[in-house]
Symmetry: C2
Subunit: 203 residues, 2 copies
């Protein structure tokens, strides 16, 4: 076995450990919040030694920011995959709004929210979370423009698309404590009708 092939499985193992840590960190953050989320707690959940966890993520901030980035990127890929099945024609706008809103629900959003809430009171964590939030915001915005098939150079498009993402974030927060699906469904339908009218002029 030459050096390159010996290195490969080791690198693959290291990547697998990293992914296990990231997935465990998201679950931990969503389930117990920031105060109970430490590198040691995540290492235990992931079945990884504390030393190995610290080798991958020297600080708590680095681990949890990477974890939220990891699920955001996975979510982005998943949305683009699901987008291939979206209808064309008049039903499309509602399907796009539903897809976007769905991405602010579930354990990934719960984890991100715990990180944001903690970052509000922690300057060091905020320094890591802010660039992540900007990155995720830009990605979501680009995805929404693509799926809606509109060009943001047209007047007012950028703002109405951003409003749709802000609405999605607000609905995510509303669904954090209780099952809000039935109400959310009605809001999505209603918003989609309004959005359709707003975008009709630029299509």
């Amino acid at each position: 076995m030459d050096t390159a092939t010996a290195r490969e499985p080791r690198q693959e193992r290291s990547r697998a450990t990293r992914r296990r840590l990231l997935a465990a960190a998201v679950r931990c953050l969503a389930e117990v919040g920031w105060s109970g989320s430490t590198v040691a707690a995540v290492a235990e959940r992931a079945g990884v030694s504390r030393g190995a966890a610290q080798h991958h993520f020297p600080t708590r901030e680095a681990l949890f920011t990477a974890a939220v980035r990891y699920v955001s990127e996975a979510r982005s890929l998943e949305l683009r995959r699901r987008a291939a099945d979206l209808p064309q024609g008049p039903a499309r706008t509602e399907a796009v709004v539903e897809l976007l809103v769905d991405s602010y629900v579930g354990p990934e959003f719960a984890a991100a929210l715990q990180l944001w809430a903690a970052a509000a009171n922690d300057a060091r964590l905020r320094a890591d979370v802010l660039p992540l939030e900007e990155h995720v915001g830009r990605e979501s915005h680009r995805l929404a423009l693509d799926l809606l098939g509109v060009d943001e150079s047209a007047s007012g498009v950028r703002e109405i698309v951003q409003a749709t993402l802000d609405l999605a974030r607000g609905l995510g927060l509303a669904g954090l404590l209780a099952d809000d699906r039935a109400r959310r469904r009605r809001i999505v339908q209603r918003w989609a009708r309004a959005l359709e009218r707003e975008l009709a002029a630029v299509r």
Copy 2:
């Protein structure tokens, strides 16, 4: 001095102590989050003995839920007061949306968010926070209908007004970590234009 007059200043002192505790609890929650927010920490901030604080609020959950309720009610009164100065005519919708969005910004919203985030992982706290959230939601909805001068029995009005409040909540969350005022202003203007068109049919 008869018993009734002796009782009155004592009741007034007790109410003042309660208000001091509630105000200190909101600042504490907004500044350090749930994990650092204890009855003892709030008593110290308020300059009240721990025993007196516990007399008013036997549990941590009771204190912080009451504090968020207190600022929500103060906010509601303040909004109704400011509403008297809102313009009539075409500029009104934007002024109303701005007023509603403004109410999801600042330390009161930051405190409420910390409480929601903590309640997501704490069944006992959630049992106190859910009825509060429903109460605040109903109040905001009623206020929005009043200010916009629309009747929710008309088709689609209820949902578009709720969407406006969900958008406001999402904008509040977006503004938690960084100064988002310039972007928020553009979204408010853009959404007000769309909302105006949506409500024109039912006015």
